[in-house]
């Protein structure tokens, strides 16, 4: 029994710590340079320039022009704005939206709301790895289709979608293409030009920026209604006084993440594969998501015969922070729609465990987690009435 107490944070897909240098860079914009960027006097000029500089940083990270970046309060606002903004701006042209069955709730619940407003939404199925077929996207396009929204990488299982191929399809049919890149930005390369992306959502706290920050990329010529009405901030498209410190922090964090991406991805991928191999050595354990086309930091597995919340509680006692798709752990008591869409049976979804690594994760962390998980799984299997005799402790 390992009595060592340590903290191993393996929930980077949920949120990340703001980098110290990022937090430090933000402080002057709360204290000294506190001016409202919309004001006329010199004090405001510092704030304005800081926002402009961050816009350049964010644009550069995704191959966009600075004037195509709009700052928001986070990924959820960006997703809401992209979908509702395009839907209402294009209502006279058509009422059909195409998306997938595995999107984040910021997309799927917004789509459900749009359906109540009279829009029609196609939720494309995915294969067992959570991958959507670009040909299925093309086949779903009708003369009424005004928007395609497909996430770049899945938040639960890490599967990276064929975004460039879907972008080509969208462009060919003259349909706008939005991607929720919240999990992808700062982790895998993004180029909105090459990938034919018209709208793209970002969230600052997923790449060591501050919470409450996000951005929406809006490509040239894309019309969308505002989500927030009020002042003329963000060139009249997103009202509300700019979160200057947050914007400064997000710009810097993304810029650093992109600069270090290649090196980090290589190191984290090796750790991810070590972790996955260690966990898959536990009997009746299966990998969720695509074996290769997945985020460098994502491991998602299911253990037969046990339930995820119990796994998390016991791992927490060992200092390990992780996540599950079990219904019992969610306030809504609904099992993961992503794992269900991948075709996993309902009872198996309850035994899922997501571990998402970070830049600070070490090989020792991985080995500690593998040993801890193996112990917890055995303990819970010994307790479960479903466990076959051969998997029980002697």
């Amino acid at each position: 029994m390992n009595t060592e107490k340590r903290l191993v944070y393996m929930d980077h897909a949920a949120t990340t710590a703001t980098r110290v240098e990022v937090a430090e860079a933000m402080v002057p914009y709360m204290t000294g340079h506190f001016g409202n960027p919309s004001s006329l006097y010199d004090l405001a000029k510092d704030s304005r320039e800081a926002v402009d500089a961050a816009r350049v940083q964010v644009a550069a990270a995704i191959g966009a022009a600075p004037k195509e970046i709009y700052f928001t309060s986070g990924g959820t606002e960006s997703d809401n704005w992209a979908l509702k903004g395009v839907a209402f701006a294009k209502r006279s042209k058509g009422n059909h939206i195409i998306t997938t069955a595995v999107e984040h709730h910021a997309i799927s619940h917004t789509c459900a709301w749009l359906e109540k407003q009279g829009f029609s939404v196609t939720y494309l199925p995915v294969d067992r790895y959570g991958m959507v077929d670009p040909e299925a996207v093309e086949a779903a396009i009708t003369p009424e289709t005004i928007l395609i929204s497909v996430m770049m990488a899945n938040n639960e299982i890490g599967t990276i979608m064929p975004i460039a191929e879907i972008g080509t399809v969208a462009r060919k049919h003259g349909v706008l293409f939005h991607t929720d890149a919240v999990q992808a930005a700062g982790h895998i390369p993004i180029d909105v030009q090459e990938m034919n992306i018209d709208l793209l959502s970002l969230s600052g706290h997923k790449f060591h920026g501050p919470k409450g920050t996000g951005a929406l990329y809006v490509g040239p010529g894309v019309r969308l209604d505002p989500l927030m009405h009020g002042g003329a901030q963000e060139r009249g498209r997103r009202a509300g006084t700019e979160n200057v410190p947050g914007i400064v922090g997000m710009g810097m964090a993304l810029s650093l993440a992109v600069a270090e991406m290649v090196e980090n991805a290589e190191r984290v991928t090796a750790l991810r594969d070590r972790l996955a191999a260690g966990l898959l050595a536990i009997p009746e354990t299966y990998l969720n998501g695509h074996p290769q086309k997945r985020l460098p930091n994502n491991v998602n597995v299911v253990f037969a015969y046990i339930e995820g919340e119990s796994i998390l509680l016991l791992l927490n006692r060992k200092g390990i922070a992780a996540s599950t798709g079990s219904a019992c752990s969610s306030a809504s008591l609904e099992a993961s729609h992503v794992l269900m869409a991948c075709g996993l049976p309902h009872d198996v979804v309850h035994g899922s465990l997501r571990l998402t690594l970070g830049e600070e994760t070490t090989e020792a962390d991985v080995d500690y987690v593998v040993a801890a998980v193996a112990g917890v799984v055995q303990r819970l299997r010994d307790m479960s009435p479903l466990t076959p005799t051969e998997l029980r402790s002697k």
């Binding site: 919340e309 119990s310 509680l313 219904a327 752990s329 008591l333 009872d347 307790m383 479960s384 009435p385």
Partner: protein, 137 residues
């Protein structure tokens, strides 16, 4: 999200395991909902002399099984039958509202085990009083 009492019963479950020569067993719940409870009873002269459980489920489900088995050990079948899910939840010093159904599962599995014993011994199965035994998801 759980209080210390619940965590204590989850981490150190009492009466976990099986009774090989149990004379009453009951299993309720289903894997789809995410929780299954199985109760094993050893009954002698109408008294529960030993009880064990196996549970597939969340922290609240395990803690409810542990507490419920503690509460019926040494009791007569009639006394055990009267153990309500509310009493189990109260003994655990409260469960989060969305987890109350786990304590219902404990009550139902005990009822199932008691009736299994009764039927096996030529007695009439007792009827659920209704009202409190629903298991909703």
């Amino acid at each position: 999200m759980y209080n210390e009492k619940v965590m204590d019963h989850f981490e150190h479950p009492r009466n976990q395991g099986v009774i090989e020569d149990a004379n009453g067993t009951g299993e309720v719940g289903n894997a789809q909902c995410g929780d299954i409870m199985k109760i094993y009873l050893k009954v002698e002269d109408d008294v529960i002399t030993d009880v064990r459980f196996q549970t597939f489920g969340c922290g609240a489900a395990v803690a409810s099984s542990s507490m419920a088995t503690e509460m019926i050990k040494g009791k007569t079948l009639a006394e055990a039958w009267d153990l309500s899910n509310k009493a189990v939840a109260e003994a655990l010093e409260g469960l989060p509202p969305q987890k109350l159904h786990c304590s219902v599962l404990a009550e139902e599995s005990i009822h199932a085990a008691i009736n299994d014993y009764r039927v096996k011994h030529g007695l009439e199965a007792w009827e659920e009083k209704g009202g409190h035994a629903e298991h909703q998801h």
